[in-house]
């Protein structure tokens, strides 16, 4: 029960905190204390800034050792450092009995200006951050019992000893040694003795155990040992312990004597901040993040602070991302059992009312999301339903809003058919009203509910992500007018790009007002951490560069940079909005806009996003490359991306590779390879985990196209027909449009232009209502081709149609589409009887040359051959025999390549 009674923010005095107090005394000296003559105000400020970041930084769970502290002190540099370290060590060595500690803290009290201030005295505002720190230290010291003071005293001894040992070994700061009292020197000798003793012992152990693999490392550690930071020490010795049971008896000896004292945790706040940063890291890097180091330090932390329950949560996250279901579950449950969902930071007071009963509904929410992640949608839905019910009972609206959002996310991702039974059994008003509706409608209602609640509770992040989800919903799901009763009501489906755009915009508003919600603690903490880290880095560079001016500015810049930086979750959300924008532009048919948004995402949010999102962005860019720059570039980019995302679980890279290879094979006329890729795609679509509908549709679409390329018209038509039925059955409206277009293509190729026309027209009307502009343009092109196929007397009409679609095609279309349009234009002109080649040859030749260049990049032999054929014909007419021969030779080359695709088979497969 200790967990419930203790205050979370308690604070204990440690040697490190005493060091900070000493430095503070130097920073703001009390009247009777000798003050250091600071050279400039900036120097003084620098010290202040350093102290501030010391109290806030969150880069580890342990406080730094004296040695690390001195190292950093040297970093803040200038003429201060020698004096500062000297003072620090002198002050410590003057603490020779517990009574000195008492007097020390009495003196410290003097630096807090209390009423009586002299003119030139710098006082520390008791309510400032540093002042608070000092006050907390004094309070904590006053609360100590005598035993506590004794413990503090002996830990100070150890704290100093290590540093002295270090300086003795390296003779770095000899001058400090002189100021030591006899007492300290004795102790130092003792430490040295111990170290050598250990060394010998280690040698003994090595001698008797020659097979012990880690021996050299361990030996190295003892000689070098006192220099290595403590954390590393613990880790390496942990490793040794695992190595062989026999050997660890000796190696653990080292660990104990070195680490058993003076392992001081930082303040609760700093640890929480550190844990949050770690959690962020886990999330961003996902499964590519190796989980064992985190696990080992979490274990340590748990031993040292068993009442810090957040550790369990972090363990859960870690296990979640390394796909360890059982321990993830175990740790999640443990966390909520202990903390009742109420453990948070001591800055944020737990909202009143709920804490009495605990907040187990949050446990349900987390559990639901965990099940979702591990792919148990039904379990997840069950748990989330319970979460809805419990949070309604306890009127925890915040949790309810989040739960509803999670639920809608779950439903939209999984699209479970059998949800009715589950949702129907629940008693919550939200879900039960939804029980008679389809999954999509339920998703919509859940989202709306969640959005409403989040809006009224001012949960900005949730509002933003709900808006994004809404945008996604608008994008994916085709609306039909709500009042569709009776036979006369129109049952037209449509999408509404305006609302998508609106939702995305609303989502992105987040960036303007995130500052009101984020926790200042972590930002502050990480800021301080960065600052301290910079200090050290610069200290290393210092030896080589003397250019202090530029250095300063760069640091300032970085510092400033961090100041305006935004919390990870916010930037993730905004990144997601860009990705969504890219996707919606892709659908609505603007390639440049899609590309631009993806690029924005990849450059600005690539670092802060989760690796699967980053992967998606890369995927889009590569697809874009393939469409607009040809396969060579795309494959090169793919190779890079594959290396980068090798470790991501459920990687989509394989999928992309198959798609690219299929396209490539189709264009080159290597139908066997294309067929194989098709089959593999189909295999990916229905795995043991479940069937991915979209992928399945894509696979059969590609199959139909392959068949079409192989001139198996009736079979291709069959496949396309059944595909259309599937799309209709599963309400995949957008896919319907492309299937219709494909059918039109098939009929066009089979020479049955009359049959093709209705399909093309249907496709166009579909595209119109769903705002699929690019697809519409290509359907228009097909329609024009069909008209021309009816006879050359329709050439005029075909040309008009084509010119209508030209802006769209040239502005946004890919290489293939553009080339097709060019060739077709030439065809139209050529078949128009009123057109004379000899007078107007450039119109035709220009488009044809364009087409053949673009097809060259695409390696689309069939079309390229067609273009070259037309070129050579035109030259023939014009009587330019030389150019004709040139074109004909190229034509022959393409035809040959088309006929034997194997000899140039790409090595990518």
């Amino acid at each position: 029960m200790a967990g419930l009674t203790r205050t979370a923010g308690a604070f204990s005095v440690t040697p490190h905190k005493i060091s900070v107090c000493i430095l503070l005394e130097i920073y703001a000296p009390s009247a009777q204390y000798l003050s250091y003559p600071f050279h400039s105000v900036s120097e003084h400020n620098r010290l202040g800034l350093y102290l501030l970041s010391l109290t806030k930084s969150c880069d580890d769970i342990f406080e730094p050792t004296l040695e690390e502290l001195l190292h950093q002190l040297r970093g803040i540099g200038g003429s201060m450092d020698a004096w500062l370290t000297g003072q620090l060590i002198k002050r410590f060595s003057s603490l020779s009995s517990p009574d000195d500690l008492m007097t020390f803290f009495n003196e410290i009290r003097g630096i807090l200006g209390n009423g009586f201030v002299q003119d030139d005295q710098i006082i520390l505002d008791p309510n400032s951050n540093l002042g608070m720190f000092v006050r907390r230290c004094i309070l904590a010291f006053n609360l100590l019992s005598f035993e506590g003071v004794c413990h503090l005293f002996s830990s100070i001894e150890v704290y100093c000893k290590e540093e002295l040992c270090y300086s003795a070994q390296y003779g770095a700061s000899d001058k400090n040694l002189e100021s030591l009292t006899q007492y300290d020197q004795m102790d130092m000798e003792y430490v040295m003795d111990k170290a050598t003793e250990k060394l010998e012992l280690q040698k003994n152990a090595c001698g008797s155990l020659p097979f012990h693999l880690h021996t050299p490392e361990a030996l190295f550690k003892v000689t070098e040992g006192l220099l290595i930071t403590r954390k590393e020490k613990l880790r390496t010795s942990k490793k040794t312990t695992e190595a062989t049971p026999v050997a660890c008896s000796s190696s653990s000896t080292v660990e104990d004597t070195l680490a058993d004292e003076s392992l001081f945790l930082r303040t609760n706040l700093q640890i929480q901040g550190f844990l949050m940063e770690q959690a962020n890291k886990i999330e961003i890097h996902g499964s590519s993040f190796s989980s064992s180091p985190i696990e080992s330090f979490l274990e340590q932390l748990q031993n040292l602070a068993p009442e810090l329950h957040r550790v369990h949560f972090l363990r859960y996250l870690n296990k979640l991302h390394s796909d360890d279901y059982f321990s993830a579950l175990d740790n999640l449950l443990r966390y909520f059992d202990y903390s009742a969902g109420t453990e948070g930071f001591d800055l944020v007071p737990p909202s009143t009312g709920c804490s009495m009963y605990g907040r187990y509904e949050i446990a349900l929410l987390c559990l639901g999301m965990m099940h979702f992640r591990f792919g148990h949608p039904n379990l997840a839905l069950e748990v989330l339903t319970e979460a809805v019910r419990v949070s309604q009972q306890l009127s925890n609206d915040t949790c309810l809003a989040y739960t509803l959002a999670a639920m809608s996310n779950l439903l939209s991702e999984m699209g479970i058919a059998s949800t009715t039974s589950v949702l129907g059994s629940s008693y919550s008003p939200v879900t039960s009203t939804a029980s008679s509706l389809s999954v999509q409608q339920r998703v919509y209602i859940l989202l709306k509910e969640s959005l409403r609640r989040a809006d009224s509770l001012k949960l900005r992040r949730l509002v933003a992500s709900n808006h994004l989800a809404m945008a996604k919903f608008e994008l994916m799901h085709v609306q039909r007018p709500l009042l569709s009763f009776g036979p006369k009501a129109s049952i037209r489906h449509k999408t509404c790009p305006v609302s998508v755009c609106k939702e995305i915009r609303l989502g992105a508003h987040l960036i303007s007002d995130f500052s009101s919600e984020n926790s200042t603690m972590t930002v502050d903490g990480s800021l301080s951490t960065i600052w301290l880290k910079n200090l050290q880095k610069r200290w290393g560079q210092d030896m080589f560069s003397h250019d202090s001016g530029s250095r300063k500015s760069s640091i300032f810049f970085q510092f400033y940079d961090r100041l305006v930086s935004i919390p990870g979750s916010v930037s993730q959300l905004i990144g997601a909005s860009y990705l969504l924008r890219a996707t919606s532009w892709e659908l609505f048919g603007s390639a440049p806009m899609a590309r631009m948004n993806t690029l924005v995402y990849a450059t600005l949010f690539g670092d802060s996003s989760s690796s699967s999102d980053a992967e998606l962005a890369y995927l889009k860019l590569i697809q874009h490359l393939a469409l607009y720059k040809g396969y060579k570039d795309a494959f090169a980019a793919l190779k890079i991306a594959e290396e980068k995302f090798l470790t991501v679980s459920k990687s989509k890279m394989l999928l992309l590779k198959l798609q690219l290879l299929h396209e490539h094979a189709l264009h080159r006329g290597n139908l066997k390879l294309a067929q194989r890729m098709c089959n593999e795609l189909g295999g990916l679509a229905s795995t043991t985990m479940g069937v991915d509908m979209e992928l399945k549709v894509e696979a059969s679409l590609r199959e139909a196209r392959t068949l079409l390329a192989a001139k198996q018209y009736s079979q291709a038509a069959n496949v396309a027909h059944s595909l259309f039925c599937t799309c209709h059955k599963f309400n995949l409206q957008i896919e319907k449009a492309s299937v219709l277009l494909l059918l039109a293509e098939i009929h066009k190729k089979s020479g049955n232009a009359v049959l093709g026309l209705p399909y093309a027209l249907a496709s166009i009307s579909f595209c119109q209502s769903f705002n699929l502009d690019l697809l519409k343009a290509s359907a228009t092109l097909t329609l024009a081709e069909l008209w021309l196929g009816l006879g050359s007397n329709h050439a005029k009409r075909a040309l008009d149609l084509l010119h209508g679609a030209f802006p769209m095609i040239l502005g946004h279309g890919g290489l293939e589409l553009r080339a097709r349009a060019y060739i077709f234009e030439a065809n139209c002109y050529l078949s128009d009887p009123s057109f004379s080649v000899s007078t107007d040859s450039e119109t035709v030749l220009d488009s044809l040359r364009q087409a053949s260049d673009e097809l060259e990049a695409l390696e689309y032999h069939e079309l390229a051959a067609e273009a070259l054929y037309l070129i050579s014909m035109v030259y023939d007419k014009l009587g330019q025999l030389e150019k004709r021969e040139e074109a004909a030779a190229l034509f022959k080359m393409h035809i040959l390549a088309l006929e034997n695709p194997q000899d140039v088979e790409p090595n990518m497969a």
Binding site: M1, G3, E147, A305, D337, Y338, L364, L367, E386, S425
Partner: protein, 579 residues
């Protein structure tokens, strides 16, 4: 085989050696077993007879009957003649004597200091042991001093490092005796090196089997049956004690009982064996028997506090307030600062419905021993009673983290979450608890109820659970009735009839009556009537006629209907005629 005489001689020597080395609890244990051996009549001394007169007639009856039915040869476990423990050198050094008396006055550091240059095995052991205990004492103190805001309790025994170093050096050079090995094992265990600790302890008990402390340390390291079986232990009668204890901790109660039964052949008056048997019986829920055994035990050993918390649990379960208060009073006078005493008092208050006070005493017990498992669980129960679910959950979770096999705490967690209206979440905990105790009908019924809650309403799963409960011999008879009702609700009348009949049989056998009975009879009567099995229907109807109330009227009308149907009137058709 081991004769009682040889056992006696072994133990006598062992006690001398153990107490010479200040291993007092092992000596105490050995002493208990020594007087537990049936006295051989030739050297009865007055004090012996006095001791044995105290034992109850019941036990005497048990033990004698047993010794008649199973004659001596059963004790054939160790063919190899166990060596008598070698007598120590008779003369201890003067310093050793001084050190031992310091030790006896609990001045451990002083004791070890006196022995600093002594090289004999015995002195080395005592020095190390004293040092170890000094470190332990300091650790306990520091634990309270250092208790930080986040429960930081990294207090460790600071002597472990040097002890380990010294003992491992001794071990390498071969100059270590079995006591040293025991201490080495303890040190290794504290340092978390379990496999090495096991090896050392096994070596120790193989060379000197009479040190019960070593055995119990070894037992605490045997967390699974696989580990237990992999130990390479030489045969000795002490091994049987060890195995019995280990089986019990691994929840193999019947195996453990068999071992104790067998040991009682020699140590027929051992209080220890009796208490352990009672423990095993308690786990098998034989409360009446356990109560008799504990009464008996207290008669022989009225100031015993060990294991009495278990007795109080039994009294609690039987709701014997007076007896429980008597017990609490007695242990309170004996030693009030024992976790067991606090726990007994807590139980008493809990039975009286004064939950705050009960919590206070459980807390006190936990202050005395932070890892006192049953106190955490019992405190959880109290918090549940007080409707403070978060506190209850916390307490249960601590119990589970101390011992993940504690099915009561898992069950408690499930119950707490169910109370808060989170049945689906609770299911996980019920599952856990059932995993550790799959043969308990109460757990299955609890889980079934969870499935049955209106929030989940997963009746099929509930039926499965009830079926398991029936297979586990459900003593309270809930499962059959619920099964019947569930089937009825789901419209599976055949199955419902089957279970109602079974339930009826059970109630008949136990001579019970009540609403369940009426319900079953009415259902069966109507069911058989609709299936035109009039004879059966009539039987049930006539049984119903024995009772007064609305059921009787119902039975009468049913009987009328049956008559009508039997005489051939198409009674059903009448309703269809337009009137």
């Amino acid at each position: 085989m081991v004769s009682k005489e040889s056992c006696r001689n072994e133990i006598r020597a062992a006690i001398r050696q153990l107490s010479d080395r200040c291993l007092y609890s092992a000596a105490k244990w050995a002493g208990e077993q020594l007087v537990g051996i049936e006295q051989d009549p030739s050297n009865f001394t007055p004090s012996n007879t006095r001791f044995q007169r105290g034992s109850s007639s019941i036990r005497r009856r048990f033990s004698t009957s047993e010794s008649i039915t199973t004659p001596q040869p059963s004790v054939g476990f160790s063919q190899a003649v166990t060596p008598l423990p070698e007598e120590d050198e008779v003369i201890d050094g003067d310093l050793y004597l001084l050190a031992k008396s310091y030790f006896d006055c609990r001045e451990y550091r002083r004791a070890s200091h006196v022995l600093r240059d002594q090289m004999s095995n015995k002195s080395v052991f005592l020095r190390c042991y004293a040092l170890y205990l000094a470190g332990e004492k300091r650790k306990e103190e520091e634990m309270i001093e250092l208790e930080g805001p986040l429960g930081k309790s990294d207090a460790i025994n600071r002597e472990l490092v040097s002890l380990e170093r010294e003992l491992s050096a001794l071990k390498r050079s071969g100059a270590i005796d079995s006591f040293g090995l025991y201490l080495y094992g303890v040190v290794l265990k504290e340092k978390g090196n379990e496999s090495l600790a096991r090896a050392s302890l096994v070596e120790s008990v193989n060379s000197y089997p009479w040190n019960w402390s070593a055995w119990s340390e070894l037992q605490s390291l045997c967390t699974s049956i696989e580990i237990l079986n992999s130990l390479n232990l030489s045969n000795h009668w002490m091994k049987e004690f060890f195995l019995a204890n280990a089986y019990q901790e691994l929840r193999m109660h019947t195996e453990s009982l068999a071992k104790y039964d067998y040991l009682q052949g020699i140590f027929s008056f051992s209080n220890y064996i009796q208490a352990q048997t009672a423990k095993a019986q308690y786990s098998l829920r034989e409360f009446d028997q356990v109560e008799i055994m504990f009464e008996d035990l207290l008669r022989n050993d009225p100031y015993r506090v060990e294991d009495m918390d278990l007795y109080s649990n039994v009294l609690y379960a039987k709701e014997a307030c007076a007896a429980l208060s008597y017990l609490a009073h007695k242990v309170f006078l004996t030693d009030k600062y024992r976790p067991e005493s606090c726990c007994i008092i807590g139980n008493y208050y809990s039975l009286k419905g004064q939950h705050e006070k009960a919590v206070m005493y459980f807390r006190r017990a936990l202050k005395l021993n932070k890892k006192y498992l049953s106190a955490w669980t019992l405190m959880g129960h109290e918090y549940v009673e007080m409707k403070n679910t978060p506190a209850a959950i916390d307490a249960y979770r601590r119990a589970v983290d101390i011992n993940p096999c504690d099915y009561r705490a898992w069950y408690g967690l499930g119950q707490a979450y169910e109370m808060m209206g989170m049945p689906f979440y609770a299911l996980h905990y019920f599952r856990k608890s059932i995993f550790f105790l799959p043969n308990d009908s109460r757990l299955w019924i609890a889980m079934a109820k969870c499935y049955q809650t209106e929030q989940l309403y997963m009746l099929e799963e509930a039926i499965k659970c009830y079926k398991r409960a029936v297979n586990c011999t459900d003593t309270e008879g809930i499962a059959l009735n619920q099964l019947a009702k569930l089937h009825q609700k789901l419209g599976r009348n055949e199955e419902a009839a089957f279970y109602f009949e079974k339930d009826l049989e059970r109630m008949d056998a136990e001579g019970l009556e009540g609403p369940n009975m009426f319900e079953a009879l009415v259902f069966l009567a109507t069911h058989f009537k609709t299936h035109k099995k009039f004879e059966e229907a009539e039987v049930y109807c006539t049984r119903l006629l024995d009772y007064s109330g609305p059921e009787k009227e119902k039975a009468k009308s049913l009987l009328r209907g049956i008559r009508m149907a039997q005489t051939g009137f198409p009674s059903m058709d009448i309703e269809h005629f337009p009137l």
